[in-house]
Structure formats: C-alpha cells, structure tokens
C-alpha cells in the first residue's frame, strides 16, 4: 500500500510521475504557510455583451496541511481580506468594498475551510469545504493542481466557480454574471 499524502501536492509522488518523481510522500507531507509573495488570488466576472472584469485580492493568509497517512484528512484554510480587493479602477474597488458587495467594514474576512480532499488525477484533487462571506456559509468546491515542490516550497494552481448571489452579493446581475471564476496560485512555505 502506497502511503497516501494529504493535500494535493503529494499525489504526484504516489504515482511516481516522471515530472514529479523527485517528490516523495515524505517530502511533501507537512504543514505549509501560504506565502503572499508568489501567491495570487484572482477572479473574473463575465459581463453582458461579452468580456468581463478582473480583480484580485492583495491580502490573504492560510495554511495547507498535507497528511502523510490519509489524503482525505488534508486541510486547506484560507482567509481573504476583501478590503484588499483591486480591479485597477478605484471607483469599482470602493464599490466592491462597500456594503453593496463585500461590506468589508463589517465583514473583514472571507474564509474557506476545507472539509474534504479527494484525489482526481495524478496531480489533481478536488477540495471541498465551507466558504463564509458576509456571515453566510455554503459548501464550495475547488480544483487544485500541484504545480511543484521545491525546497520547502509547494505550489498549487486552484480554480473554482462561486455563485455570489448566495452570499448576498448579487448586485449587478444580470449585467454582471452571478458566477465568479476564481484562479489562484497558492505558494506554501513549510513551517
């Protein structure tokens, strides 16, 4: 029985894929702190008539714990500070921070706590968890792909779709899609 790794990273090692052959389970297992440098949390919302608008959160923190014994027990915790939202357009940023959308003054944190991690491929996994924003919590799922493990640094590419209306952020629909496409690069440093 191959050892199962928590988190997404070590899946590759399980299969001894050539690219990740160097990643041994024992190497990937452990706790990582998400590093703001090298990480990004970007999102896109489609617009009626085509195109969309992009934004990113500048401040966030989190941890990734890869369990050496049971993949399903891997954990991902992520806290995003909506005050740090940036779209390149100051008026839109102010709108997003206001009570029209994030209400950042009263809800300074958006939190994601994983509840389950399921391997879906050689280097991919489905992370399900609970997302809390504006006091509302719903289950969400994200796809994570291992990007690499080098030194004490592990990298994941995470994507997922979130329906903003459930979190009291439906303003602007249908001009702006209800679906928020997330595209994150999470760089974790061991320790």
């Amino acid at each position: 029985m191959k050892a199962r790794i928590l988190g997404l990273a070590a899946f590759a090692a399980c299969l001894a894929m050539p690219v990740y052959a160097a990643v041994a389970l024992s190497d990937a297992a452990g706790s990582y702190t998400i590093s703001p440098s090298g990480s990004s949390i970007r999102f896109t919302i489609g617009k009626a008539g085509g195109g969309g608008f992009d934004g990113a959160f500048g401040r966030f923190k989190g941890t990734i714990r890869i369990d050496n014994g049971d993949v399903g027990r891997s954990k991902v915790d992520l806290t995003i500070y909506p005050e740090s939202v940036g779209t390149g357009q100051g008026r839109i940023d102010a709108f997003l921070r206001s009570d029209a959308v994030f209400d950042a003054a009263n809800n300074p944190e958006i939190q994601f706590r994983s509840t389950n991690v399921t391997r879906t491929g050689d280097t991919t996994a489905l992370v399900t968890g609970r997302l809390t924003a504006r006091g509302k919590t719903f289950p969400e799922k994200f796809t994570a792909e291992l990007g690499g493990l080098k030194g004490g640094t592990i990298k994941f590419h995470v994507t997922g779709k979130v329906l903003r209306s459930r979190y009291g952020m439906d303003v602007g629909t249908p001009l702006y899609s209800n679906v928020v496409d997330f595209d994150m690069t999470l760089m974790g440093k061991r320790g």
Partner: protein
Amino acid sequence: MQSIINTSTRYGWAMIILHWLIGVIFIGQFVLGYVMMRTPSQRTSFELIQLHKSFGFLLLGLIILRIAWRLRNAAPALPASVGMLERRTAPLAHFALYAFQIALPLSGWALVSVSTLEIPTMPFNLFVMPNLPLTESDASESFWTSAHWYLAYAGIALVALHVLAALRHHFLLRDSVLARMITPSSGGE
C-alpha cells in the same frame, strides 16, 4: 379612429398620449437622476442608475416616435385669441423642448459609452444596448457627465416654463390650449 390624428384645431390621441407619457417620464427621470446621485447606499445608487438608463432609452424611443409622428401630422393652430408675441415664441419654446428631449437621452448614452467604469447597459434587463462609437476616457466621462447635468437642469427649467405657460392659458387666459392636450374633444373653435 378620426380622433387619433391631429386636426387643424384639435390634438389627436396619438400626440396626447405621447405628450403626457414623455412628460411624466421626463420629469420622473429628473427626480430619479437627482435621487440616484445622492443615495448613500452604493447598491441602491447602482440599481437606480440602471433604472435611469432603462427609462432614458425608453424615452429616446418614444421621442423618436413622437417626432416622426409630428413631422407627418402638424400640430393644430393656436386659438385666435393667442397674441402675436406668443404666436412667435411658442414654436421656439416647443422646438427647444424637442431638442432637449433628444439631447438628454443622447448625452446620457454618450456618458455611459465613454465611462471608464464600462458598465453594460441592458434596458429593463431585456437586451444589451451597444455603446455609441466614442472613445472612453476619464476626461470624456467628466465632460459628458457635466453636459448631461447642465442639459437636465436647463431642460427641467424649460419644462417648468412650459407648465406655467399652460396653466396661464387655462386659468388666466381661459383658452383651450391646455384642455386640447388633455382630450381631443376640446379645442374646437
């Protein structure tokens, strides 16, 4: 059927309905525009602005219909009692009213077209209205915001003059000028 079109002394239903519909929406748009810029809630403000855009396009459609109708169907002559000065200035005031009815929605359309916020326009959430072929920039947005604002205040001042003139005709001069814009049965000499 006869009462739909104007005659030489009476307004038909088509002009009467278009006149009041446009008048009510025009004044409503002024109030909505005033309120939406002063609403503290960003969300409510955003939604009111979208509503203002929807009614603006409705207004533009109605006024195009009205001008087309007017070009094919001349307005009735003024009652004989109307003096020479008014006989000359009233058409100018009416022309100016038409000009504002066209200029206001168009300046609003220009404003949303050049806005760097790039907010799409969907009148009443029915369809996407394309932008005018204008280049977006902060400077253009600021120009059209001012233009729309000045046109709105000048337009509402003209409407106030128009309303006062109509009331003068009805209550002081006691002629048929206001009444014939209410029903085609009024206005016969």
